[in-house]
Symmetry: C2
Subunit: 196 residues, 2 copies
């Protein structure tokens, strides 16, 4: 791991996989922040991504720090990670047959810069209509747990998603095209060797 | 492997992963067909998917047979798998900064049914503008080879894709929501146990 590896303020295995797919060396340092925030989905994810990145700034003043927060919203209501089977069941039951939104906030702090750069991505996702049996079977698979909105588009729930509009990696938890753009804006030294 | 596992007429590891993610047991039997077809993208993928499925029908008359074909099209021109670095370079150079289309044909033959059911999915994909260096570095990574349009959205090229409209799994090579719908239409016996 090079000395100047980016700091990823997230313990999510999906975010780590996406960052790996971009060919960017990183170290994982999950930030422990107060996640009890109210507001519009866009405000919530931006604020939480900022909190996470800023929590790590004192420890890593000379490194790129990247943080993200993702949530699902339906008709303005926010769906986070389900606490138990009943909540997961209700979330999927509400999502099926409808469009919903996935919001991510991404925050990047570059070495030597005062300001944190926080940006937002939103993807619209459409679920096919599901039978009660399909919902129960999906929840029983265990996949909904630990995922905002109680589903994983890269997992079994992928076959329930008929259409999306926007960034697909945002739905997994990290909008990689946005992250690339932000890194370029802040002169992140992409290296050719990373891509071999 | 149960006796009645579905037959997948494709050697693509991505299609196998997507079908695995759906929880469907299958056996792989790549079909060897003449792929030299001209026409509109939609016609080409439908015809090739049908050819692949029908090639396996005599060998597996009592099984579900699933075949697919995927290609990329830009302004009506068809981009298949690149033959060498130069072709890959040209394809990515053309795709960057623009919208293009990914077309898949899916063909399902159900046991005891005469007709093959062939359906089409199309996803619009937008690439960020790339520098020549980024294009060269991407081609040098080797990822473009064996992929229609010379890129893998689930790989390093994911960060070049700013937005999609349509099925995301279609861009990987198998539109899983469409496959689910076709299997339901033809009374495929989804089993609860498959989902544990």
């Amino acid at each position: 791991m090079p000395h100047d590896a980016l700091i990823l303020a997230s313990s999510s295995p999906r975010r780590q996989e996406l960052l790996t797919s971009m060919g960017i060396p990183f170290e994982v340092h999950p930030a422990d922040v107060d996640e009890d925030v109210n507001g519009h989905p866009q405000e919530v994810v931006l604020l939480l991504a900022q909190r996470k990145a800023q929590a790590l700034r004192p420890q890593f003043p000379h490194r790129y720090i990247l943080a993200a927060d993702t949530l699902v919203s339906l008709d303005g209501r926010i769906f986070g990670k389900p606490k138990d089977e009943l909540v997961a069941q209700r979330m999927i039951q509400e999502l099926q047959g409808k469009w919903h939104e996935v919001h991510s906030g991404v925050c990047l702090i570059a070495p030597g810069e005062e300001a944190a750069d926080a940006r937002h991505a939103m993807t619209k996702v459409h679920f096919a209509p599901l039978t009660e049996d399909e919902v129960s079977t999906y929840v029983a698979s265990g996949e909904p747990f630990g995922k905002a909105g109680a589903y994983a588009i890269q997992g079994r729930a992928g076959m329930f998603v008929t259409e999306i509009i926007g960034s697909f990696s945002n739905v997994i938890g990290l909008p990689t095209a946005l992250v690339r753009q932000m890194l370029i804006s802040h002169r992140y030294p992409f290296q050719k060797e990373q891509v071999v």
